[in-house]
Symmetry: C2
Subunit: 430 residues, 2 copies
Amino acid sequence: MDKTQKTDILKAVDTLFEDEVEFLAELTSHPSTRGNEQSAQDFIVSELQSRNLDVDRWNVEVDDISHLPGFSPVIGNYDDAINIVGSHHSRQNSGRTLILNGHVDVVPVGPLDMWDTPPFEPRTDDGWMYGRGAGDMKAGLATNLFALDALRSLGFAPAADVYYQSVVEEECTGNGALACLQRGYKADAALIPEPFAEDLVIAQLGVLWLQVSLKGIPVHVAYAGSGSNAIEAAIPLIASLHEMEERWNAPEHRHGEYGHVHHPLNLNIGKIKGGDWTSSVPAWCVFDVRMGLFPGQDMDTAKREIEAVLMEAAQSNDFLRNNRPEIVYHGFCAEGYALAEHNTAMADQAITTLDDAHHMVTGDDLDKIAITATTDARFFGLYADTPALVYGPKAEAIHGFNERVDLESVRRVTQATAIFIANWCGLEPL
Amino acid sequence: MDKTQKTDILKAVDTLFEDEVEFLAELTSHPSTRGNEQSAQDFIVSELQSRNLDVDRWNVEVDDISHLPGFSPVIGNYDDAINIVGSHHSRQNSGRTLILNGHVDVVPVGPLDMWDTPPFEPRTDDGWMYGRGAGDMKAGLATNLFALDALRSLGFAPAADVYYQSVVEEECTGNGALACLQRGYKADAALIPEPFAEDLVIAQLGVLWLQVSLKGIPVHVAYAGSGSNAIEAAIPLIASLHEMEERWNAPEHRHGEYGHVHHPLNLNIGKIKGGDWTSSVPAWCVFDVRMGLFPGQDMDTAKREIEAVLMEAAQSNDFLRNNRPEIVYHGFCAEGYALAEHNTAMADQAITTLDDAHHMVTGDDLDKIAITATTDARFFGLYADTPALVYGPKAEAIHGFNERVDLESVRRVTQATAIFIANWCGLEPL
C-alpha cells in the first residue's frame, strides 16, 4: 500500500468518524442483554441493508449445533436468539476472504445505583463513551462496519468476499458464533475487535461454567445449628474449589503463553442464591462457578477433577455427606485457543498483515498478549482452521459499572481495520 | 369442676372433633404466606360470624403502632395485613377475661419438589395432618375455636369476656399481635396454642433480624482474584457472627431458664443473594441473619455488638475495608419473655389453672419448657402485664417440608383448653 492510499484511508475514517460515534451510541442504547438482542439486531440489519450488503437473519437453533465441537449447554431457550450476517460478494474475488465478527449481547448491568448515569443511555465525556456494551463489544461492531464504509467512501470494495457478523451468546456460550460456522460462513481469516487495547490476542483461555445445587432438610432455626444450613454448606465447597484453582495455576501446569501472567486461571463465584425465610434454616443454595482452563487443557478431564473436588469436600461435611451437591453444566464449555500455535501460512500472513496495518496507523509494533478470558475466536481457530485475530479498541470496566471505551482508540482501530481489509482482501472499484 | 362436667366437656370435644379436623383442613388449604392471608381471614370471619361472635376486622396500620414498645421494622407494605378478633361478651362477667390468640400467617414452602404432597392441599395420614401451617399454627386456631364450641354444645358460654384473635405477622415481626393490644384488647390472661407438644412455654427467646448488604466494584473475572468478590467477602462476616454467637451462648451469659438447653441462641443465615453473571466478579451480595437473645438481654446493646463485630471483620478484609457492609434491621426486633418471671398472682393462677386442665385430660403434670424461638406471647407479657400461656399441640417439621400436626394431640389440647376456659372464665348458660 502506497503512502497516498494509506493517507486516503486514514482521512476517510476521520471524515466518517462522527457518524461512527453516532452509530456506536445508538447501538449502545439498545439494552441487548441475553434474550433482548432483537432491537439491536434490527438496527444492525437496517444499517447493513442501507449499505447494500446481503443480509442473512436467522434464529439460532440448538438442534442445528448441539452435535458440533465447541457447543456449550444452553441456558434458557433460544426463541429470541437472532444472528445477523451481512455479506459482501466480490466481483473479482482476487483476494483473501474475511470474516468481521462481533457480538451484540452484553452482560447484565447490576445495581443501577452504582452507575453514574443510566447504562443504556450512552454519553460521551472527555473522549470516552460510557454505557453497558460500549466497549464489550459494540465499539467493535462499529469499527468493523466503518472500516468498510471508509473504503467505500473512497470508491472501493474488498476484492474478496467479506462476512460482517453480529452474533448473540458470546457472553455465555459462544453458540452464536458456532451457528455462523454451521450455517456455512467460512473465510481465510477472521477479525474480532474485542476491546483489548489495540493488542493482538495470541492466546485465550478456556472457560467452564457450572452450577452447584445444595439441598437439605430445613427446620425452624430454633432446632438447628449451622451444620444443616445449605448456604453455609457452600462455604467449604468454595474453599476446595479455590484450592484446586491454585493447583491449576502452579507453574508446572501452565501453558507456555501464560508463564509470566499473574494468576491466569481465575475461579469466580459469580452468583449465589439460597433460602426463603430468615428464621428457617435454609434448605437450598445454588451457586454459579466460572473456571478458566489453559489452551490444550482437556475439558472432560477438567470436569472430572472439579466433580471429584466437590464430592471430596462434601464427604467431609456433615450436611453434605447426606445431601450431595448436584452439578449442572450450563453455559460456557469453551476450550482455550492459541493463535500463536496456529501454525499455518494463512495464520502467519494474517498476523503480519495486521501488524503492518497497526504500524501504519500508530507507528508502533503490534503488541501480542495472552488473555485470561475467552472470545469467539476459538470457533474459527479450533473448529474451522481459520486464524482468528482478536484486535480491538481500548475499553475500561467491561462487565463493571461505568463501562467505557476510548473513542480515539476506536478511531485508530477503524483505520487499522480498513488498511487490513485493503491489504488482506485487496480492493476493487465499486 | 366435678367429674361429670369434665366428662361432658371431653365428650363434647370428641363429638365435634370431625368438624374440627375439617375446619383445620380448610384453613390449612388457604396459602396464607405473608401478604396472602386474606382468604384465610375471610374464612375465619365467616366461622366467627356463624357462632354469633362480634367480629372486628381491620387493617394493621404502621402509623398506629410504630411508636409502641415491641414494634418491629416492617418488611414490605401492610396494605393487605388484616387482623381479626371475634369477641364474646359475657352477660354475667363474673369470671376472669381471656384472650385466645393464634396467628394465621405461615412461612414460605420452599422448593415444592421437596414436599411429598402439595403443601396447601392438606391430607391426613396415620393420625397426622400434613400441610404448611397445619401445625404452626392453624391447629391452634382450631383448638381455640372448638374449645368454645364444645362448651356451647353443652349449653354454656364463658362467664367473662373472651377475645378470639387471628393475627398476621407473627412469623416476621409480631406487629399483628401488637396491633391487637393497640386496638384495646386486654384480658386477665392470654392463651396461645403454638405447637410445643402440650408443654407450657415458661421462657422464650428474643429474636433479631438484620440484613447485611455488601457492594463493591465488579470487574470481568479475567482481571480479578477472589479478593474483590462480594459473595466471598460475606464469608468472613458470617464466621465472625458465629464467633459472637458462641460468646453469647457461653454459660456465664445465659439466662437461668436456659442453663441446661443445648446451644439456645442460634444465629441463622437464612437467605443469601448475590451477583448477576457467572463471569463477572459479583459486585453485590445480601444476606439475612436471625439471631436469638435471652430474656432480659438489651436489644440496643445487642445491635451495637453485632454492628461492631461486622465492622471489625470488615476492617481486616481487603474488599470490605473499602466497601463497608450496610446493616438494615427489618423484621423481628423481639425481646425475650419469661412467663416464669411473671410474678403476679394472676400469672400464678393462670399457670395453675392450665396445669389442672392438662392433668384432667392427660393424667400427667404439665411440663414446662424454655423454647429457643419467639412467639407473640411477649406482647401480652411484656407490654400489657398479661400472663401469656403458650400451650398447643404436637407438630413436626414446622418451617420444613411435610409439616404435620398430631391430630390426637389436637384433640387433647382442645379438651384442655375447654376445661381451662370453664375454670378460668367460669360458665354461664347460653
